[in-house]
Each structure stands twice: as C-alpha cells, then as structure tokens.
Subunit: 79 residues, 2 copies
Amino acid sequence: MKVVVAVKLKSGVLDPQGKAIGHALEGLGYDGVTDVRVGKLIELDIAETDREKARSAAESMAKRLLANTVVESFEISVP
Amino acid sequence: MKVVVAVKLKSGVLDPQGKAIGHALEGLGYDGVTDVRVGKLIELDIAETDREKARSAAESMAKRLLANTVVESFEISVP
C-alpha cells in the first residue's frame, strides 16, 4: 500500500533553498512570486493492506526518521 | 494564492536517497517497507487571484526551473 509523507519546514524556520528558488524565478522574469518554501515528499510502499495500520506505521517512521520534528512538520496521506 | 508543485523522479530513474531511507527504516526495525521514493514539494505564493492563471504560471515555472523534466515529473495543485 502506498503512503505519502509530506515533510515541510515549520513556519518561522528559515528556508534558504526556497529563497534561492525565489531569486532564480525573479531572474527568469516571474515577478509575482512572493514566497517559496521547499519540502520533501516521501512515498513509501508498505506491505500492509489495512489503511489505518499503514498510516500509523508511516506516522511512527516520520516521527523517528523521516522528519526532524524540531524544525519540520509532516502530513500523511494514503491515496 | 498558494500553489503546490510536487516534483517526483520518473519511474525507472534510480533514487539513491530513497534507497538509503529504506535501509535506515529496515535498520530501525520496520520490515514491511518495500520501496521508498523521495521527491520535492515546492509551495509557491503567487500574487495572482485567478486560479487558472496561477496554475499556468506555476506550470511554466516547473518546466523552466523547478523540475528537470528529463528525469522528473511534476504535478501542480491549487489547494
């Protein structure tokens, strides 16, 4: 079963990668971009048929490894 | 207006970062993870009120800068 973990920087945490992308877009002539934030999208294939079990396994993985919960938040979706 | 661009490696393209995460999860005792793929999640704040215009601007940005369409595909969503 596919589970998607979206990891984003918490608001207030500086995002230099996003800033760099913003400047690059400006350089290419895209004027209207006021903010860019970059996160990670982690697709897991889990050998589990129960949606809730797959989701809770992914939540445990996110807390222990996939996200640094000091500066990042995560959202789990089972598409 | 917020626009989210999800950039993923095309299928068939090797993903060493995903492999490393898979091995790390195995090391932590998560046995059921058969595959891990890592992508990027780029949140753009665009000074535009029309959803379709914001989407097409993001599509243009994705093609020109945000995604390497040789090895990556992207999806745009306007939440």
